[in-house]
């Protein structure tokens, strides 16, 4: 089945206080599709004044919203999920157009997962309770969770609607108002969502601001009218946001990427069965979403005694990847999200080769025909080398995996943990001891065991080390958007006796 580029308006506004508004200084930027490098639409190039407007709207709305019942908030979150679901194909097409990822991925992963995250947080707030402890026979300590107030969220371009759906629902469910800034490469699905749900929330509860990092992102992250900043992106911006937050003494949560090891022990090849087939696919998942995933399994660690045989199958499976028109449901790997990413990936492949890495497959740009000749396509690439090479240490954010061998468990762990980051990891084995002990010894926030790249709501996700902190996709994220009111109540009629 093949689709085509969806229709867009010529330009869009920011969504502030329940309506679309033009940027105050009237400036817009052009947003293009990486599939064929054609124009999508013009989006606001917001500045401080637009951010001030959104922050003021959110502050005006926060008291009333913070006092709504959990039942009322849950109903609205569910409504958003229903609206996205009813328009799934439209969202999927817009997402594919804006980001470059294959339509089969947006139809089956991005959008369905986004829907489920809204439903998960709607459900969670109906079930959770506060706590109370009787400290002694006259004293009750009661903990009530209160919203922080106004939240700033800055999200990346690799899963635009899904990242929005990881961040918005827990903040709203917790009773906060939000100003969210989508990445400037991918403003479209957030805008489409606001068009569809414009009437769902009271004005000011959800606000979307478009624009560039230095002009709109920085004023938002450093705004004194904001009570918390949540960010997904890279380390330098993460540090800057924490710095700005420190001026306001605001809490932050950070998801800053990784260089995730995907470890295959020799027992995976004990049988030639469905599990081995799954394991081979697990190794090839480096190419999922063009490698533009914070948890991309970009370091492949294979036990030396199965290395040759295992890699032969991984290479064959990689060779079978279909890279064509992302609007066609046969496409498995689409376009990189932007020209600068494309150039960066190629420059990494080059330094990898210079450092002595051997190209096992791919290693260059992928030239598509016709309208797609202007898009940004890279061949799925496997580089063989060692863990001290820069391609093993830096997040390439492309369909590039670096493979190396290990001798035993100790060496596998040494290599796996020799990284600045600790977001994801994969462990594949038929050995019952390994499948518990190895994940426990890996310094990462999410270890997939005999699977990879699953992101269900209800399983907490977040980083160790320089990958950041905070745990999304789970009830525990609510507490990063709340503060605890402790009421300490005395039922004792007698005075202390001090004065």
């Amino acid at each position: 089945m093949s689709y085509s580029k969806p229709n867009f308006k010529e330009k869009y506004g920011n969504f502030i206080n329940g309506e679309f508004v033009d940027p105050m200084d009237g400036t817009y930027f052009e947003n293009t599709s990486p599939i064929d490098n054609t124009l999508i639409a013009h989006y606001p190039r917001s500045k401080q004044a637009d951010v001030d407007h959104a922050v003021a709207a959110a502050n005006a709305a926060k008291d009333a919203w913070g006092n709504t019942s959990a039942a009322a908030r849950a109903a609205l979150l569910n409504k958003v999920a229903d609206i996205i679901e009813a328009n799934l194909e439209e969202f999927a097409l817009v997402e594919t157009c804006d980001n470059g990822k294959p339509i089969r991925e947006t139809m089956n992963a991005d959008i369905p997962l986004a829907i489920d995250h809204w439903r998960y947080f709607a459900a969670v707030i109906r079930a959770e309770e506060g706590s109370a402890t009787e400290l002694d026979e006259h004293t009750l300590s009661m903990n009530i969770k209160e919203p922080l107030g106004v939240i700033a969220q800055i999200i990346p371009w690799n899963f635009p609607l899904l990242m929005l759906s990881w961040k918005l629902p827990p903040a709203l469910a917790a009773g906060n108002c939000v100003i969210l800034k989508p990445a400037e490469q991918t403003p479209s699905s957030a805008t489409l969502l606001m068009e569809k749900i414009a009437e769902v929330f009271p004005p000011g509860v959800v606000n979307i601001i478009h624009g560039f990092g230095p002009e709109a992102g920085k004023p938002l992250a450093s705004h004194t009218g904001v009570n918390k900043v949540a960010f997904t992106g890279e380390t330098t911006t993460g540090q800057l946001i924490m710095q700005y937050a420190s001026k306001n003494l605001n809490p932050v949560t950070m998801e800053l990427g990784g260089k995730s090891p995907n470890i295959f022990f020799n027992s995976v090849m004990d049988e030639d069965d469905a599990f081995l087939d799954k394991a081979i696919e697990g190794a090839v998942l480096f190419a999922f979403n063009q490698g533009e995933v914070c948890t991309c399994p970009s370091r492949l660690l294979v036990q030396e005694d199965i290395y040759d045989e295992f890699m032969e199958r991984v290479i064959a499976r990689t060779k079978a990847i279909v890279q064509n028109n992302p609007y066609d449901s046969s496409c498995m790997v689409g376009a990189q999200a932007s020209n600068d990413q494309y150039e960066k990936i190629l420059s990494y492949i080059k330094i990898g080769k210079e450092e002595g890495a051997k190209v096992l497959i791919g290693g260059q740009a992928s030239k598509l025909e016709g309208a797609f000749a202007n898009g940004f396509y890279i061949q799925p690439t496997i580089l063989e080398g060692h863990n001290k090479m820069r391609v093993f240490q830096e997040e390439i954010f492309g369909p590039v995996v670096c493979v190396t061998k290990f001798k035993d468990e100790a060496e596998a762990l040494e290599i796996a943990n020799d990284t600045l980051y600790g977001l994801g990891a994969g462990v594949w084995t038929r050995d019952a001891h390994q499948l518990y002990q190895i994940p426990r010894a890996i310094k990462a926030g999410r270890v997939w065991v005999n699977c990879y790249h699953a992101y269900p709501a209800h399983a907490p996700f977040g980083g160790y080390k320089k990958s950041g902190f905070g745990r999304e996709n789970h009830l525990m994220m609510m507490n990063y958007y709340r503060q605890t009111k402790n009421m300490l109540i005395s039922y004792d009629k007698n005075k202390l006796g001090f004065f």
Binding site: R45, W157, G213, D340, E343, E395, L420
Partner: protein, 119 residues
């Protein structure tokens, strides 16, 4: 021959000059991690808090180039050239509104450079 860890292309110098006129004194900081990570970021001097954990790699077009020491450990055997490409990053780097993105091209330090720089 003067040994250096970091260089810059002529096109990138022109962009730096333009940003200097707009913003005054600048610094480069090499990012790592997700999304736009692994790209150089350019900020107004004083915007980013720097301390002993940030290694000064050199100065290009009058702009100091820093990298966190942990990251430097993995990068120190390579020479970096700052270049530009059309595109749009999503960080706070100042060139983004101009429709360009700084990027780096890397090569291995040769033996002579390595001996001088990584004693």
């Amino acid at each position: 021959m003067k040994m250096e860890r970091v260089a810059i292309t002529e096109e990138a110098v022109a962009l730096v000059r333009q940003l200097q006129e707009q913003h005054g004194e600048l610094i480069f900081h090499q990012s790592g991690g997700c999304c736009d990570g692994s790209s150089p970021m350019i900020f107004e001097k004083g915007d980013m808090y720097l301390d002993d954990s940030d290694i000064l790699l050199g100065q290009i077009a009058g702009v100091n180039y820093y990298m966190n020491q942990d990251q430097f450990e993995y990068w120190k055997h390579t020479h970096l050239t700052v270049a530009i490409t059309k595109g749009r990053g999503s960080s706070f780097s100042l060139e983004i509104p101009l429709g360009y993105r700084f990027m780096i091209h890397s090569r291995l330090l040769n033996d002579e450079e390595n001996a001088a720089l990584n004693k």
